[in-house]
């Protein structure tokens, strides 16, 4: 029983650590920084959706981005997609909910995350 649970979770961790290596904090700061505009917004949404970066790493990055003058819209979209959408964890999610529902949930959450990012950018 332990094996059935441990193996899929370890697989997720392996994918997460490879994704973290491929998309280092330097990359994020460079492409989401001040004046990154619409391209920064798209990069934020895509990187945030694909990867899963733990809060203790992502929030310091987000704070320093804002200090350097990045827009709230870009930073908020990055954080919301990170929290709500998980492409690397999709195989694990599919085992619980079935593939169709897992994909649907991620698509709906992606739309919600974008709307939240835009709204937070407008409010703040």
């Amino acid at each position: 029983m332990f094996r059935n649970i441990a193996v899929p979770f370890l697989n997720v961790l392996i994918l997460v650590s490879i994704a973290l290596y491929l998309i280092p904090p330097g990359f994020i700061s460079k492409y989401l920084g001040a004046g990154s505009g619409i391209l920064g917004f798209i990069t934020a949404a895509l990187v945030g959706s694909i990867t899963l970066i733990p809060g203790f790493i992502s929030y310091p990055i987000a704070a320093s981005l804002l200090q350097q003058g990045a827009s709230y819209t870009v930073v908020a979209t990055f954080m919301t997609t990170l929290m709500m959408v998980g492409v690397v964890t999709l195989p694990l999610e599919s085992r619980f909910f079935g593939r169709r529902v897992a994909i649907l949930r991620n698509i709906l959450n992606f739309i919600a995350a974008i709307l939240i990012g835009l709204a937070v950018g407008m409010i703040l």
């Binding site: 059935n4 697989n11 919301t80 709500m84 529902v101």
Partner: protein, 186 residues
């Protein structure tokens, strides 16, 4: 041979990863060492919440009667059910994939489709430990703005999922259940 391969398939990634990390350390290959570092960090994060999570899920399964769950957060529970499931989600910790086993047990106990998905939504952005870090780094205005916009959207997603999955025999499966299913079919 192919039967053996099928049996070992789940371990393929783990084995390949372990060998790559070992070789990286022997040869001093830096990317491998960096990835191993990330893995160690995430692993520590995971083992701090996983045992706790499974104890909660286990106790919940054994002690909380289905009737109570159905009554308070079941399909007919309305606004009070949404409030309760949101509060329950706020008390959780860990990354989103840690919520899947909890969603499984909630659904099994009769929480209903709508509230199960509201749970997943609220878990993703309203956990108290997460709000703590968020307020510290991005300020309370950020958390308030995010929550005010996000909560109605995720309640909406809950209603949508309920409507969409209503007649589709939707179930959430436990990882251990699947293993027995596989054995039965093969």
């Amino acid at each position: 041979m192919s039967a053996y391969f099928q049996k070992m398939k789940p371990y393929l990634l783990i084995t390949a990863f372990a060998v790559s990390v070992l070789v990286s350390y022997i040869l001093g290959f830096e990317p491998g060492e960096v990835i191993a570092g990330h893995f160690a960090q995430s692993f520590i994060e995971m083992i701090t919440f996983i045992p706790f999570l499974f104890i909660i899920v286990g106790l919940f399964d054994a002690w909380v009667p289905k009737k109570q769950i159905e009554k308070h957060i079941g399909p007919q529970s309305g606004a009070k059910g949404i409030l309760l499931i949101t509060l329950l989600a706020m008390l959780q910790a860990g990354p989103l994939y840690g919520a899947f086993p909890v969603a499984y047990i909630l659904y099994k106990k009769g929480a209903g489709i709508r509230n199960t998905f509201i749970f997943l939504g609220a878990f993703s952005f309203m956990k108290i430990p997460l709000l703590g870090i968020e307020i510290a780094y991005l300020g309370i205005q950020f958390s308030i703005a995010k929550t005010v916009v996000a909560l109605p959207l995720f309640i909406g997603i809950g209603y949508f999922m309920e409507w969409y999955l209503k007649d589709k025999n939707f179930t959430i499966r436990d990882l251990t259940e699947q293993q027995t299913d596989k054995r039965r079919t093969s």
